[in-house]
């Protein structure tokens, strides 16, 4: 399996996430799209970790496992962002009875 | 399976396929039998719930989704059986057939993950069936489920610390001809029993009792079957974790194998395993019936205020003992 397949797949997922953030208006769906972007990053980290393992250079293979551990922390960060988002979105919903981010434009002046 | 890789050949594929079919059939039969026992001996209480199906929150076509959720729940529950070792090995001709479908080094975590995914089934069920106070029902269910699943997860961790492995096969072989884990981890065992008793009953709670017997006959039956499958498989899992799995008590398995060969040992181990599982499942059924008397809010309170702290204390105590 060439790494480039995975890289292209991750970029595809990433840009679908960006597209969602730019086009959708629902805050929950926005959050899902951000999670999608983070998933793409996590996938790429694991792929590169594997890639480095096959090409172990001056460092031992232990160096390559950094990617997987980073992916572990990134999964945690994705969870943190998701929970934060749901908390904030719910607090926002309680005030405005809506999760539409069009409301945010009212802040300007 | 560190380092060495099993070469995939046709015999292995056939063997695994046969094993999958056999295990699925076994699980099916066991679940039906447990259900029969439950209805017959532990007194049936047919649910008298609301008969009409309220309109769903998510539009006009919930039926497909709910049915899909039920089927998925059943499949996911059965998938727990893939990582449970059912015995040591069988000798067919010149071939040693190991009795697990997949040996992965994260077996325990896999089972926990599949168990945790059961929350989606519960959500789908309540979302579509409960009419009054739907959101309250959903939140009570979530609270109860998370309390139980969290407590079970916390109860398993000390065991993993003792065994220093998340591979079920390793955990069983560590208990072989040695002290069972239950003597080290009695609180964990009890917590696992309680958690399984609560989680394996789809219509456990008050809301559940209200919805039991409501329309969607086939779907409801499927949820019930899922409950019994879960009961059986979790019983097996608990047996493997705490009661030595297929190990035969008081006798040295190694000596038996030397004396009678693999196939006889397999039969003896099967008897031992079945006996243990039947005991555990009987205890689970009884616990389920006892717990059914209590109100759901009380269960939630117990879960969060009693069982999770107990699991945490157990974890901390084991850690201190292990380090000291």
């Amino acid at each position: 399996m060439l790494t480039h397949f995975y890289v292209v797949l991750a970029f595809l997922l990433f840009s679908i996430g960006v597209m969602g953030v730019l086009t959708r208006r629902n805050a929950l769906v926005l959050l899902l799209c951000i999670e999608l972007m983070m998933s793409a990053g996590i996938l790429l980290l694991v792929v590169f970790s594997k890639m480095h393992l096959t090409h172990a250079n001056s460092f031992s293979g232990a160096q390559a496992s950094q990617g997987q551990i980073f992916a572990l922390f990134a999964i945690m960060a994705a969870a943190v962002i998701g929970i934060t988002g749901i908390a904030v979105i719910f607090a926002f919903f309680r005030k405005t009875r809506s999760v539409d981010i069009n409301f945010l434009n009212r802040l300007k002046n | 399976m560190k380092g060495n890789y099993v070469t995939i050949d046709l015999a292995l594929v056939i063997e695994k396929l046969v094993l999958i079919i056999a295990v699925t059939f076994l699980v099916w039969v066991a679940a039906r039998m447990i259900a029969m026992a439950d209805r017959k001996w532990l007194h049936p209480s047919p649910g008298t719930g609301v008969k009409d199906i309220s309109e769903s929150l998510f539009g006009a076509t919930p039926r497909l989704l709910v049915k899909a959720a039920a089927v998925l729940m059943l499949v996911v529950s059965i998938m727990i059986s893939t990582v449970i070792p059912w015995g040591e090995a069988v000798r067919i001709g010149s071939r040693n057939v190991s009795l697990f479908i997949a040996r992965v080094d994260i077996g325990v975590l896999l089972i926990l993950a599949f168990l945790w995914l059961g929350i989606y089934g519960g959500i789908a069920q309540r979302w579509s069936y409960v009419k009054n106070d739907r959101i309250g029902a959903l939140f009570r269910f979530g609270s109860l489920f998370i309390a139980c699943a969290l407590a079970m997860g916390l109860a398993i961790v000390p065991l993993l610390m003792l065994a220093a492995s998340t591979d079920l096969q390793n955990i069983i072989s560590l208990q072989k001809d040695a002290v069972w884990n239950i003597f080290y981890q009695l609180p964990g065992f009890l917590i696992m029993l309680l958690g399984t008793a609560v989680l394996s009953k789809p219509s456990f709670t008050n809301d559940g009792r209200r919805i039991a017997g409501a329309g969607f006959g086939s779907v409801n039956a499927m949820y019930n079957l899922t409950g019994y499958v879960l009961l059986f498989l979790m019983g097996t899992f608990i047996t493997a974790l705490y009661l030595g799995g297929y190990e035969i008590p008081f006798v040295s398995d190694l000596a038996l194998r030397r004396r009678f060969g693999v196939n006889v040992l397999f039969i003896l181990q099967g008897i031992s395993f079945s006996f243990k599982i039947i005991m555990v499942v009987a205890i689970l059924l009884w616990t389920r019936r006892v717990l059914e008397r209590y109100d759901e809010s009380i269960l939630i309170r117990w879960g969060w205020k009693l069982i999770i702290p107990a699991a945490l204390i157990n974890l901390a105590g084991t850690a201190v003992v292990l380090v000291a």
Binding site: M1, A71, M76 | D105, L138
Partner: protein, 176 residues
């Protein structure tokens, strides 16, 4: 090569379809369900790359915990229906074009990296749970503690932002 290749394409198609499902589905519920499918597809990729521990953690944390959080968030939000406003068309088109450009630029930039063309080889030990545990408690101990603090801060913050003892304002008084 064969089996891995086929599985790769199946899982990639699934991931792509799920991602599109998040993007285009009108109902949020289907977005959440697509997201869960996506998580499973990515976990499948992890297993293909012999990173079982990460795969199962991904399922447990993201599909198990986070997906449920999303569902409950959805329940709270959708129980009060309101009409969803549609974004202005040219903004949408601009967003689509911008992200497609991003995709093209990223792919073009990386496609030049011919020196990095490396073949993945299956079967190595680093994805195993004991190795990850060892690393996590020796070399990565400091990040581990920091991530604990991060989770704790989210816990505190959620309490701060959600639990308020003052009565919420009347929804009708909010001028839109």
């Amino acid at each position: 090569m064969g089996a891995t290749f086929i599985l790769f394409w199946i899982l990639s198609t699934l991931a792509f379809a799920a991602a599109m499902g998040i993007l285009v589905s009108k109902k949020e519920l289907y977005s959440v369900l697509s997201f869960i499918v996506l998580v499973f597809a990515i976990s499948g990729h992890f297993i293909l790359m012999n990173a079982q521990f990460l795969a199962i953690v991904n399922i447990l944390v993201v599909a198990g915990a986070l997906g449920v959080m999303f569902l409950y968030g959805l329940i709270l939000v959708r129980s009060h229906r309101d009409s969803e406003q549609v974004k202005i068309l040219y903004m949408r088109i601009a967003g689509v074009i911008a992200s497609l450009l991003l995709l093209i630029v990223l792919t073009a930039a990386v496609s030049k990296a011919s020196q990095n063309e490396v073949v993945l080889r299956p079967g190595t030990w680093i994805g195993h749970v004991d190795k990850i545990g060892e690393e996590l408690f020796s070399r990565f101990f400091v990040p581990f503690v920091i991530s604990g603090l991060l989770l704790l801060s989210v816990l505190v913050g959620t309490v701060v932002i959600i639990i308020n003892r003052e009565p919420a304002p009347d929804p009708k008084s909010v001028t839109l």
